[in-house]
Structures are given as C-alpha cells and as structure tokens.
C-alpha cells in the first residue's frame, strides 16, 4: 500500500518531466554528490507504511489508562476550556514558522505580545519574553543570566524547589564559572530556611533561587528573602510550578523578585506526559538586553498603523552567534498562544476563583486526611493546592494499594528527598470532585487502617 503518497503529490509523469528539465535520467542521479560507497543499497529497517485506520488502531493500543489522580509536582490537571483547543487548532497558527516575515505573521506576533503582557501582569514584572522550553530550563537560564549580570560565582538554591529543576540548573551551569549552594528547608515547616540563607549570603552570591509555592506546595515568604539578597547586591530569582496560584498569591515582582522563571502548563496546556509545556520568563526592564529568548515589540508600519515585530534580535543566537545571551531558537510559541487564549477566557475574576477553588479543595482533602489514623500533614506552613502527608508505612506500598482502589493517591517523595521516606505529595485541583476526594480519603483510611479480617493474625 502506498498510502503515503497522499503526502507526496508527484505523479510518474511529473517526475519524468522534472527530471527532463533538470537534465538527468533517473532520480538516483540527483544524489551523485554523495560518494557511491555511502549510498544505501538496502531499504531502512522500519515498520509500516500503515494506512490511516490501521495507524489509529495501533495508537489506540498504546494509549494509557487514566485513573483519577492526585498528582502534581510540576504538572497539573486543570480544566481546559473547549475554546482553547479549538482556536489553537486553527492551522494558520500551528502550521506557521517563527514569525520572521512580520507582515504575514501579525496573528502570531500580536498573540505573543498579548502573552508577554499577561505574563508581566501575572508575575508583576516589567518585561517578558515569548517563552522558553519549560519551567526547568527557564529557571536554569535565569541562573545563567544572573551570572552574566553580576559576574558572581555562587548561586544559592533552595532545596524546596522542584528537584528536577535543580538537576537541570546543575546541568546548565559551568562548574568552572558557578557553584550551587543548597539552602535546606525547615523541618516541620517545609519553607526555605531563612536563617541558613541569610548566613550563606555574601558579596559572592549572584542570586538566590526560591520557588513559590515550593515543591511541597508551601507558600514561601519571598519578600524577606528578596530584601536580604538585595542588601548584598545579588538578584532574587523566583521560580514557580503552578501558575494558577498567582490568581491569589501576591506576584513575585511585588515581593522583590528580579527574575521570575517558571512553568505555565497549568494555563490551558494538556498534561501530555510531560511536554510540550511552557517556560515563562519575566524580568525587570533594566535587564532587557541580558535576557534570553525571543521578544515581540510594538511599532508602526510605513502608513503609521500599529503592528508587531520580533525585536532586540541582536541578542540572539543567529546574529550574536558566539556572544548570544542564549542559544534558544525555536521556543514554545503555540503553548504561549494556548496560555493567552486560556487567560483571555478565564479573565480577571475567573483566575482568582479558580485559584480559590484549588486552595479550598486542597484544604478539604487536608482536613479529611487529618481525621485518618496513621498519617498526618507534615508541614505546618500554608499551602496552595498540594501538601505533604507523612504516612506510617512505605509510601510506595501505600500508593500501590490505593491504586487497587482505583486511584493514584499522590507522589512518593522519597524518590526526590531520601530523608522524606514516609512522605507523599498530594495535589488537589478543581478537577478532583468532592466525591473523588472522599473516595481518596476512604482509600487512604482503608490502606493505613485495614479492617481486621477474621483470618488475620492478631497483634
């Protein structure tokens, strides 16, 4: 079956005429510049070609089950309004390239300009770029940028930021240029330990990296930290995983952040097993030229009409080449568009209500958990839509048993924090109904305090 020809329109007659025009006999002759001994004589060893119906059948066989879940940790299930996927599916958006030709890319350009504005409003900052790969690489680029600005050697990173983000920062930095010092979290509170942080601060510190809410779901007090960093001439980098929290939380900019870098997946982007997601990156105007990534700016055309262009491109990889602020090129444009559509729908009041609903449901689950023997809320600090639960027993086993009750009860923290070996992160969003949370609590109760069976041995 040569169904793939639906993507390749050449008839045999076309090919013949074209070869004739070029002046060669056979298609193979076009490849003569490739030394003969390197030209393949056998077909590639690949499956297919599959017809469309067969392909779909094959893919359906690979789909995953979707039990109700209480998972978060940098990827969140939120309702995506129907409008988002419908509009983002307009192929004028998704089949376009990067908007190099401004006159026929005003759709993308205006949308990115709107995205930049929304991100500034959300994070309380002055400038935003057009997006980064994801929250982790965005945060890593923030650390590199702070180094470019301050030329200082040390960066203080809170242990309560997403552990995978920490690893990405570690990968990105050049150990000859920069060194990471980890700042622990306070036991029992789950917040970054301010005392240790203040003691570690000196004139060698380029930046402090704190995430809010942090990986434990805990709301950090960025304000105090920002003040102390600034006293030493360093920069405050605020990370985040859960953008919805900023529907109620004070923006990092208002609390003194110099760079805000985080993950925007919650803003209308499907979970999709970890990507594509949306790296958000905002900063202060004074650092505009140190910033990585594409920027869209407003200008006028030769008739004086408002229009948008890619601007300050001289910082970028294709022009500055070996002196560029970053090597990022293709970013996550369509995801930025989705976030823009999402926020346009949800609006000023919707985002607040959504955030409150997340908080309220998480508190409801917390309360339910606190009534269950054999587990307790691990940290006393305020949280947003996730919290850490300490359990009596091996979390892995507990989660496995909850799975037989038909749900994924949370995330085992021990894989990230060896010392938190009896701990789960439980995430509750607006998508978890009261009924589902009740079911979760019942399952947890059942697993932690199994009803005595007449056959069980006592003790």
């Amino acid at each position: 079956m040569e169904d793939y020809l639906r993507y390749i329109p050449h008839t045999e007659e076309d090919v013949r005429k074209m070869l004739q025009a070029i002046g060669v006999k056979r298609v193979e002759d076009l490849f003569e510049t490739i030394p003969a001994e390197f030209r393949l004589s056998r077909p590639l060893n690949l499956p297919g070609p599959l017809s469309e119906p067969n392909l779909l059948r094959h893919l359906q066989g690979l789909e995953s089950q979707r039990p109700p879940h209480f998972l978060g940790g940098g990827a969140y299930q939120h309702h995506i309004p129907a409008v988002v996927s419908h509009l983002a599916s307009r192929s004028e958006f998704y089949t376009a390239y990067t908007p190099y030709q401004a006159e026929i890319s005003q759709g993308t350009l205006q949308a990115v300009f709107e995205f930049q504005t929304l991100m500034c409003q959300l994070t309380g900052m002055e400038v935003s770029n057009g997006s980064m790969y994801d929250g982790a690489s965005s945060l890593a680029e923030a650390v590199l940028m702070a180094h470019r600005i301050t030329r200082r050697k040390k960066v203080l990173v809170s242990q309560a930021i997403h552990p995978e983000y920490r690893k990405v920062i570690q990968t990105y930095i050049d150990p000859e240029e920069q060194e990471i010092l980890l700042i622990p979290y306070q036991k029992g509170e789950g917040r970054t330990d301010e005392d240790v942080l203040v003691k570690s601060l000196d004139q060698e510190v380029s930046a402090v990296v704190v995430q809010n809410p942090n990986f434990f779901g805990v709301v950090e007090d960025l304000q105090t930290i920002a003040e102390r960093v600034h006293q030493e001439g360093g920069l405050m980098i605020a990370g985040f995983n859960e953008a919805i929290a900023y529907g109620i939380l004070r923006s990092p900019g208002a609390l003194g952040a110099d760079i805000v870098a985080g993950e925007g997946q919650s803003l209308g982007i499907p979970l999709s097993f970890g990507g594509p997601y949306l790296g958000i990156f905002t900063t202060r105007e004074q650092f505009i030229r140190n910033m990585p990534g594409r920027l869209v700016g407003e200008t006028v055309d030769l008739e004086g009409k408002r229009g948008f262009v890619l601007t300050l491109a001289a910082r970028e990889q294709h022009i500055r080449r070996e002196k560029a602020t970053s090597n990022i090129c293709t970013n996550e444009g369509l995801c930025a568009l989705m976030a823009t559509i999402f926020l346009s729908c949800i609006g000023k009041h919707g985002l607040r209500e959504l955030a409150l609903m997340n908080l309220s449901k998480a508190e409801y689950a917390k309360k339910a958990a606190s009534r269950i023997g054999g587990c307790r809320v691990a940290f006393s600090s305020p949280t947003f839509n996730e919290f850490v639960l300490e359990v009596d027993g091996a979390p892995e086993k507990i989660l496995e048993r909850m799975r037989t009750e038909g749900l994924l009860g949370g995330l085992d923290l021990s894989r990230f924090y060896p010392e938190l070996d009896h701990h789960l992160v439980v995430t509750v969003t607006e998508m978890n109904t009261k009924e589902e949370i009740d079911h979760w609590a019942e399952a947890l109760e059942k697993v932690l305090n199994p009803p005595l069976s007449p056959f069980s041995k006592g003790g």
Binding site: R289, A313, A314, R315, I319, R320, K323
Partner: protein
C-alpha cells in the same frame, strides 16, 4: 564619508581626539554606516580602567551588535549620557554629538600606535 584630519583612528574603527592627557573616543563614519540604524549603546562605568584593546561595551543596531575595543589604555572619566535616549546621534553626527566617552590616558605614548586619517582610509580600501 568623512574622516577628519585632526583625529586619530584605530583599526577597530574608533576615532580618538587628542586632548593632552585626555582623549575623546567615538566610532567612525565608516563604522556607523556599516552598522546602520543604531538602537542602543552600552558604555562602561565611569572610573573603569582598560588595557588597549579591552572590551569596553557594545554598539547595537537592528541587525547586529559590535563590540567597542578600547583604542588606548586608560581610565573612563566621562560618558555620553545623551546616547541613552538618542543612540541615532552616532549615525547622524559620529564625530560630534555621537561621541562615546572620554578617557584619561595611562601613557601619552599610546597615541603613537594609532593611525592618521589617511592611513585609516587606506585600511578601509583593503577591507572593501
């Protein structure tokens, strides 16, 4: 294109006006014409010291960024603050309102290594 006789020039396309133990520095008419519309200038802090050839800052146009290399060894004593709002002065008046900065010379001898207007123009014809 103009290259005033009373100025000295570097091969990196900067001009230098000899003012005794001080010099004023800018980029040449040729440099600005190559860069085209200049949009931004980044100049060093007053008081910073440079070796000859040291990386002092950048001149940015829409399409490219050029580094400014110090044509002499010395200390920055003044910079053209007007350029912050009017980078186009470098295009319209490279030897006048478009000057970049003033430096205090470390050694007066330094100026000897620079080119005359004629010699500089000679390097340009090689380049093009």
């Amino acid at each position: 294109m103009e290259f005033p006789e009373n100025l000295l020039y570097s091969e990196d396309h900067e001009w230098v006006r000899n003012e005794g133990s001080f010099v004023t520095i800018g980029i040449t008419d040729y440099a600005q014409s190559q860069l085209k519309d200049i949009v931004y200038v980044d100049l060093p802090e007053i008081g910073s010291e440079f070796q000859k050839g040291g990386d002092m800052g950048v001149v940015e146009s829409v399409k490219t960024v050029a580094d400014i290399f110090s044509p002499v060894a010395g200390k920055v004593i003044e910079k053209n603050l007007e350029l912050k709002d009017h980078p186009e002065f470098i295009n319209t008046d490279p030897y006048g309102t478009g000057w970049l900065l003033r430096m205090e010379l470390k050694e007066k001898e330094e100026l000897k290594g620079l080119l005359s207007s004629k010699a500089y123009q000679g390097t340009l014809s090689e380049e093009t």
